[in-house]
Symmetry: C2
Subunit: 411 residues, 2 copies
């Protein structure tokens, strides 16, 4: 089945808003074995939309259109759809009722009948969470689906109406299942090298490696005529990648590094205190992004000044004066200090020079020390991270969280 998508919106075509709908639709369809072949974007300009629809029809078996179904005069998708396919716009009474009751529920008196006008010979696609319903019809053998541009509304209507409709009509479409494995601590060439030839000759599995700084995401897609077959192939593929990359895989699916760390804390019943200098609260912020983190995260200290390092963490003045605040000795004292002060099982610290200023010949921008103090020992290591201030802070936080993960997982 040849599928095209069309995004409509002047805010998209002039770059004010980045279109995420097209990619989302493609990803959802792929899960059901359907492939999007082309994606087109035009502004809220009736002739452009009409032309785009006329152009996509002969090249596609299905066209999924998003945007331009709102209540304002800018929204002309329904009109363009009618004109492009020789239909008229008529008021749909059920739709009118839906819009009125939905507007009343929101307490708004601005319900207009404009959104109740859809092309003749089309079927309404219900929108449970908004006034902008969609519609679909068939024209010259091509299925046309029109959905609003609001991502959450579009997503639900796609899953509840469009996908079941398409799946029913393409019964032998095959199955494509997807897994994501998330890697930290290896470079792209290293990952490439380790996975080289892993799936050569296996046409049922497709692997792609995508760098999303500072992590690498490995996408595995396995296809099969039946779902169990695709699932088995996916599991085997994932096992192969796990075997080659080992502990560098910090999570799977959409799990973040901080969620992986929080999950391990939950299983180990340990507590943590964090002392941050150059990351300025980023590590604490990321850990407390996770719901329930108060069970293990006792406290954090953002100690930018030397005075704060002395007073809050008990870093000896001698270390600050002789070795400096950015030193392995200071990092170790910070980790031990925050652990003792908070009475936590683990103490984690980072200190470094994020830049752009503050670097020296001896300790250039990007010099960072990370330390972990635990009941069974303590570890401190120096790093020299590249990039700008944000990169250095990001890499420092990721590396420190990865230390926690590896300590807790024993790997």
């Amino acid at each position: 089945m040849r599928i095209s998508t069309l995004s409509i919106g002047s805010e998209l075509i002039c770059g004010e808003v980045i279109d995420t709908n097209a990619g989302h639709i493609a990803e959802l369809l792929l899960g059901g074995g359907l492939h999007v072949q082309r994606h087109l974007t035009v502004g809220d300009h009736e002739p452009d939309i009409e032309e785009a629809l006329g152009e996509l029809a002969p090249k596609s078996d299905a066209v999924i259109v998003t945007g331009g179904l709102g209540p304002t005069v800018d929204d002309v998708t329904a009109l363009a759809a009618a004109r492009a396919t020789g239909r008229r716009l008529v008021v749909n009474e059920a739709l009118k009722e839906h819009i009125r009751s939905f507007s009343a529920k929101l307490g708004g008196g601005h319900a207009t009948d404009r959104q109740a006008m859809i092309p003749t010979k089309s079927t309404v696609i219900p929108n449970p969470t908004g006034t902008a319903c969609g519609f679909h019809f068939i024209h010259r053998g091509c299925f046309f689906f029109f959905l609003p541009g609001v991502p959450s509304e579009m997503d639900r209507m796609l899953r509840e109406t469009v996908l079941p409709f398409l799946y029913e009509r393409v019964p032998h479409r095959g199955f494509v299942l997807t897994s994501f494995l998330n890697v930290f601590g290896l470079s792209e060439p290293e990952v490439d090298g380790l996975l080289k030839g892993a799936f050569s000759g296996n046409s049922a599995v497709r692997m792609s490696i995508c760098v999303t700084f500072p992590r690498i995401r490995i996408t595995l897609r396995a296809s099969g005529d039946a779902e169990p077959l695709a699932r088995t192939r996916l599991q085997e593929a994932a096992d192969l990648v796990r075997g080659r990359l080992g502990a560098a895989i910090f999570s799977e699916g959409s799990e973040t590094m901080e969620q992986a760390v929080a999950g391990l804390f939950g299983r180990r019943l340990l507590t943590l205190a964090v002392a941050e200098s150059c990351t300025g609260g980023l590590i604490a912020k990321r850990l407390t992004d996770v719901p329930g983190s108060s069970a293990f995260f006792l406290e954090g200290a953002v100690t930018y000044s030397n005075a704060a390092k002395e007073r809050l963490l008990g870093v000896p003045r001698a270390i600050l004066e002789t070795r400096g605040a950015v030193s392995s000795e200071c990092a170790a004292a910070m980790a031990a200090g925050v652990r003792a002060a908070a009475g936590s099982h683990l103490g984690l610290s980072v200190t470094g020079i994020a830049g752009p200023d503050g670097g020296t010949d001896d300790k250039p921008v990007g010099t960072v020390f990370i330390s972990l103090a635990a009941p069974d020992g303590s570890w401190t290591k120096g790093f020299r991270f590249g990039g700008n201030r944000e990169d250095v802070r990001t890499l420092t936080a990721w590396t420190a969280l990865d230390w926690l993960r590896r300590y807790l997982a024993g790997c």
Copy 2:
């Protein structure tokens, strides 16, 4: 001039990567008075690219293509460009030399001549920062530009070669200048209401209001035949908006809230300490994102536990026991406590229930108290923010930073 863009990449068409190039190109062109009319995306599939190029040519005076110029066998844009326009692929010697010397500089021995193959009768678009050079040619009256998909390389090549080329050929294109005004603390309907009719009857100014939670961005575009005219119109338009929205505008252009706050700290020569409960370091993180923040940011305390609030901030146990950790009394004690401990001019605190658990009938999820302690007084206020955990944390941090901004700016 009718302009189209074409993004090429299987990772784009299957939704693995969101295409930001198309929007970026449109925005840059708009600054020079050029409008993109349609944007198409296809995968790295030679016949699809060829078809797309053939289709866009008669509808466009210029087509800007990105992606598919890399060194791997997946990259087939040059081949498709040649086939679509009846050209042959030939090795460009200058390009070959560029690729070899660039690869050598990077220490990589994997230079291939593949990227040196471009269609006959085309001109190289230099890439100062990568191996993938672009090329351009004219075919049936349409200018075709081919650029790599890496955003930073594409951006530079667009600015240095493509834009000057187009500007030279469209001398009477007019000028469109853009301003962004960033608003916090007003809802979209409030902003709509305050700006209603501001530019009715003024066809030279276009205003759009875009919600990027939790802030609102107002885009003003003023056009004129000459640049000074467009500039004057833009300044008048911005003044009008500033007059109506007043202190709700926290910054202009790409300046963030934390940059605005840091700028004000710099002018006032004051210092700050922050005590965070529910935001878990997010406020400290955002302030220290700004280079040079160590000049005013002395320290931060992430006090999740009651013990930490007592020990680090000196919150009286009686308050924690009778009023609770989420109370205006506790917030005030935290702000005063962190200010006294750090010896800073200002002390800022937040305490609240970010959820998803921890809410009660009396203090539901979203209940937050913010307090600011300053030499000339102290202020504490309760809020009830909506949304999920992330929304509550985001709104709390934004509101607290906005308090700092308004205090420092005296507005």
